[in-house]
Symmetry: C2
Subunit: 420 residues, 2 copies
Amino acid sequence: MSKKRVVIAGMGFGGLRAAKKLAGSDVELIMVDRNNYHLFQPLLYQVATAGLEQEAIAYPLRGLTRRWQGASFMLAEISGIDLANKCVETDSGPVPYDYLVVAAGSRTNFFGMESVAAHAFDLKRLDQAEDLRNHILLMFERASSESDPVRKSALLTFVIVGGGPTGVEFAGALRELIVYVLSQDHPGISADETRIILVEAADSLLTAMPGELREYAHQKLTSMGVEVLLDNRVVGATAETVELYGGAVLASHTLFWSAGVAAAELAGSIVGVERGAGGRIVVQPDLSIKGHPEVFVVGDMSSCLDSGVPLPMMAPVASQQGEYAARTILAREQGRTVPPFHYFDKGAMATIGKSSAVATAAGFSVRGYIAWLAWLLLHLYYLIGFRNRVVVMMNWTYAYWFQERQVRLITSRKRRAVSV
Amino acid sequence: MSKKRVVIAGMGFGGLRAAKKLAGSDVELIMVDRNNYHLFQPLLYQVATAGLEQEAIAYPLRGLTRRWQGASFMLAEISGIDLANKCVETDSGPVPYDYLVVAAGSRTNFFGMESVAAHAFDLKRLDQAEDLRNHILLMFERASSESDPVRKSALLTFVIVGGGPTGVEFAGALRELIVYVLSQDHPGISADETRIILVEAADSLLTAMPGELREYAHQKLTSMGVEVLLDNRVVGATAETVELYGGAVLASHTLFWSAGVAAAELAGSIVGVERGAGGRIVVQPDLSIKGHPEVFVVGDMSSCLDSGVPLPMMAPVASQQGEYAARTILAREQGRTVPPFHYFDKGAMATIGKSSAVATAAGFSVRGYIAWLAWLLLHLYYLIGFRNRVVVMMNWTYAYWFQERQVRLITSRKRRAVSV
């Protein structure tokens, strides 16, 4: 009897953990992704704020398969899944499977606001982080040679939507980039002339965190110079303006959106499955699709209730689900069963700035320097590849001591005129 | 009396050295470049062969101006120079000057062969190195899933034109990438199935080097598995073929061109100057333009006879000319004169592969391990920025010990279908 073939569709946190668990076991493993690397998404915002080079948070997938017996990688765009014929459809042809782990992640949700989708930056892909970095640096170059104070102010106003971890971390990192680096680089621009406005629809930042941490984050950001706008939301945008609910318009050339995610488009192309909020695929307690026990959906694509509560779309959930799906496949092959998936909540954290972060773990709340150090160490730990860890560590150390960020390069291929 | 204004047009090796010399002196210094960074071009081929991240060979120019009194940077595309009115024309408006150092470098010369220009890769800019890396990696991904042996062979055939230092270094680095990394990454591809063909019009490689080094380089490349085709040249190309002089056609999806350079386009837009071979601007013995003693042309744009011999287009010439122009400007301001420019030839070098390079200095020839070590140290020395040196050093050490190159990422935004 030939080995069973397990196909993993998408090599984010969920797919990667599933692959690691299955590697070396008695199955044929095929990893499919549209990129040839695993991306460490939690640090994308640092690429966007010139703190890290993009290569440092990506790891080539063939660097894994070359070490794994029975595992192979396929660079392909997945266009659909034929559940009836057990086949993944890709632009490189069909890939039949015995077991399938669907882990294609999420896309940004602009909730149908076309003007926002057209003008806002979001952070899901490596090239988006590079684009955003180029854009921020270019705004300062333009402002440097801008004589009209109104236009200069608009160039130096940055609107961030979404007070979750991404929005908070990006706001803090951007403020530090401006205070420590860009206002030093540009003699004609003082940090006081710049504005960072963080817009959140709820009545506090980091709503998933305990009250004291929410307040700490709010106070810290405010003291750093970030304007926090609660109970408000962005409803429209042009290239040079951002419209708030109620009609107020901010003059700003930069809108960053981190206020919503939905399941990757692949979720919508799978026929005959139940979909929940954000287009996520509703799964059984063992993460499989109803009627298709050989197909598992993990991570952001999966709508999964744990003790009646829907699980959040975040890396630790995806990782644990990926590992669970792999264990379940191996158990089935050995005729065993496994108990339903249960998420073990290790806590959550967000960094705000230098020596400042918030974290929860096992019911405890930590903030300030200790939380920041924990954040650094955990992110280094979860990064893949020795080289990447060293490069990231080096960049952080360099930035910490020298208050500089050397990756402030405008690498765009587009024409980068500086208008007068 | 207000300070004299010196404008430097182009921040490659020539412009950078001129700026360093003028920084802190009693002039107003304006550095203009279309990029916000200085690029260390000699290592571009290592970015293209996945040996270095692109950020490691670029240094932000504002990182220099923030430390230099009286110096400023302007991100702009230069469209022309109005010699009569002493003004540099840019897309950010005119920049008047008292002294001007023109240092816009060179562009690739395809000698009017449009099909080659349309299909060949060349290495002048950072994004070209990234594009070439993406392309090489993609060829292997495609070959991995290619069942037709003829098409597979064409995907794995790489034609390099030009046996100068760039062609030789690129050929060696590509061969090592294939042998040590890509053939290990792709279980279905052996290094023997791949071809690297280095085409040179002269009867030897590295024609500027002594005979024994030319032979060493030839033998070394051949023993590594590179096919060296002398006395031949490429006359045409399509996306999937390369045509040689005489009509022979190679099936290859990758053509790399390093067989000619000409002055940057800016040289052609300056009215009323004499132009030499490759569109280079003919200069006086003090590197100024005839009739315009306040305008200096340095580096690849400058056609300069030294003891009756035209100087080659290479970094050391540009650096020395940049420094000379700066010294001449300072001397003139103090009412002194300086002797005509004279190039001090420190030698030349090219690396072929791991532990293997050729170098000449002060009439001596060195090859093998010692030359390679000298190459490494000199390139680290000439790189700008402490951080960049550490990153490059780390990548080299990592590649040396682990035979791996982690930056093998396909970061292209284009659709990267793998056809079957």
